[in-house]
Symmetry: C2
Subunit: 354 residues, 2 copies
């Protein structure tokens, strides 16, 4: 039978929008399907429940709502949320009080830079009541600043590599021959002279020369190889580390009380490649990005949504902050929070790198 709207076609008329919005905002807080009567009682739409039902039926036909079963109320679909955040949702800037609180928290923290990412994740988790994610801003490529060799035993040493961007990496190296600290210092001095300010590639190029250098013990070559490898790995990774906080918030949502689904999500998050691919995708997009339910490629993530934004300078160093929550999520607030925090992180990065 012919409906008024044959296909989703054009934009929705205002009343449909209003109703969709009401349903979503109601469902987000109650997690219960919402019915027509309930809606007219609670929201002051000047129409009867029957009319609302008609509209709901249209919205369902258009794919924005669905039905758990015949006599249940309506529930938004992924497409419904999508439409909501694209064209219906209210302003998404954060309330001044919340801004203030967040700024305050950031003011408290010491200058230990790693803390920032923990804090960003924790803050986001706290204000959105979902899980917060944050990665450090990773420079696109690094240069060597300084290396240090510290003997920890007769046959092992700790190799510390300080990068020009302010980052540090540390590994152990085995010493086949016994070296004492003085000898290690000599090697370190030699390598620092030769390798300071070089990129991974340039470090690699020096290896051959070092091999023939009479001053350089064979051990120096092995260390250089390790340094090159560390630097290459650093350059290659899109995401260095992921801090997350408040995964437990999500766990306690009613739709996840039976937890098998969530286990999958947790597992997927452990995997850095996945977040790496997201970062790559985000780098091109400007503002906050939202991935709703099945919009995530990964099947594990079909029941959750991500709200992500990058911070830093596109060509130089990029990091990500974001929210992971149930698809039934307070998107405007989450988006506002992520936008604000990413802005804050931007300022911090700016302060750091000029």
């Amino acid at each position: 039978m012919a409906r008024r709207t044959e296909r989703p076609a054009g934009p929705l008329d205002p009343r449909s929008q209003q109703i969709l919005r009401a349903i979503i905002e109601e469902y987000v807080v109650t997690a219960e399907p919402v019915g027509s009567q309930w809606l007219v009682d609670r929201y002051g739409l000047g129409v009867s429940s029957a009319t609302v039902r008609n509209v709901m039926a249209e919205l369902e036909e258009a794919g924005y709502l669905s039905h758990p079963h015949t006599s249940a109320g309506r529930v938004p679909t992924d497409a419904g949320y999508r439409l909501y955040i694209e064209s219906i949702a209210p302003q998404m800037s954060l309330a001044p009080v919340e801004r203030l609180m967040i700024r305050h928290q950031f003011g408290q923290v010491e200058f230990a830079s790693e803390q920032w990412f923990r804090l960003a994740a924790a803050t986001i988790a706290g204000t959105t009541h979902a899980a917060g994610l944050a990665t450090p801003a990773k420079p696109r490529s690094c240069k060597l600043r300084h290396i240090d060799l510290v003997a920890t035993s007769t046959h092992t040493a700790s190799l510390v590599v300080v990068l020009a961007e302010g980052g540090v990496k540390q590994e152990l190296v085995a010493l086949e021959e016994g070296y004492d600290q003085a000898e290690l210092d000599d090697v370190a001095r030699l390598l620092n002279e030769q390798l300071a300010d070089k990129s991974a590639r340039q470090v690699g190029n020096r290896i051959a020369a070092l091999g023939t250098d009479p001053d350089a013990p064979p051990f120096a070559v092995r260390v250089t190889l390790r340094v090159e490898k560390m630097m290459r790995e650093f350059d290659a990774s899109t995401v260095e580390d992921v801090f997350s906080d408040g995964l437990l918030n999500v766990m306690s949502e009613p739709e996840f009380s039976q937890s098998e689904k969530l286990r999958r999500v947790f597992a997927a998050l452990q995997n850095r490649d996945y977040l790496g691919s997201l970062v790559a995708r985000l780098a091109t997009a400007g503002d906050v990005q939202v991935l709703i339910g099945a919009e995530n490629e990964r099947a594990e993530m079909h029941d959750v949504s991500l709200v992500l934004a990058t911070y830093g300078q596109p060509g130089r160093a990029l990091g990500v902050v974001g929210v992971l929550g149930p698809t039934r999520m307070a998107y405007p607030h989450a988006i506002g929070t992520v936008r604000f925090v990413s802005g804050l992180m931007n300022e911090l990065v700016e302060q750091m790198y000029r």
Copy 2:
């Protein structure tokens, strides 16, 4: 009415032990209360179910078993588990196959030392199907090896502190006056000359002298203060970091499928002070320590058990590895695993520090 055994009194007779053991080992795998009939069928005790019931009643009176309700089988109490691991449990060494597998995993890992703790936690989680915990071995007190100042912008620099024990810390410092890299290098060189090989306390002592040194800019004093603070904090903490893996394993146990309890546990684990206090307690005890259910002081931990061991050298550097799981846990296996892994970590530390 007078029972045969008025009080728990002496050790249990062999048959009671055998029955307690059977109940525990059965319950550990099934998570269901164990009944008398079931027991005689499955285990070849040469007695009737009635006799078993009598014994069970005694064991219950003695506090080793309990009853969810009248017509249910028996369930071990914390005291039951305790008795079991103290005097009844079978040999607790790990099967050679498992040892081999674990050794193999450790063989695979690169020398990046942080990886070890992740790996230890992951390995323990994997072989016990519970959560694995591991902290890095933290030296009791540290000495400064080297500091490095890297300009990241006109008004901030990254301060890298390398400790003689091979550890590294990094923080940002604000520069009120504009410094360029060359000036920072000068300051770093000056400080390295003055502070190398000093303890936190000694660094503190130099601060006054630096303040009057004409070569040292005021900025150098501020940096030194920061260095001292970092070193003091490092010395003061008992636990630097905690790696955990496989918390999800625990989550999927039947007793935790309704997850509120587990949230509490997770939250308690986040808190380093708690683990710190455990480490302090462990440091005195020699072997593997087991904390069963309510034996943990924290109320949140009353439904889980911990199996923990230290590794490293008591006077010098101590870390912890362990298992967190439901009280209904395969203790002998868990204990064997923890003992083996802590031994392995011991070897690694030994290799590192002499």
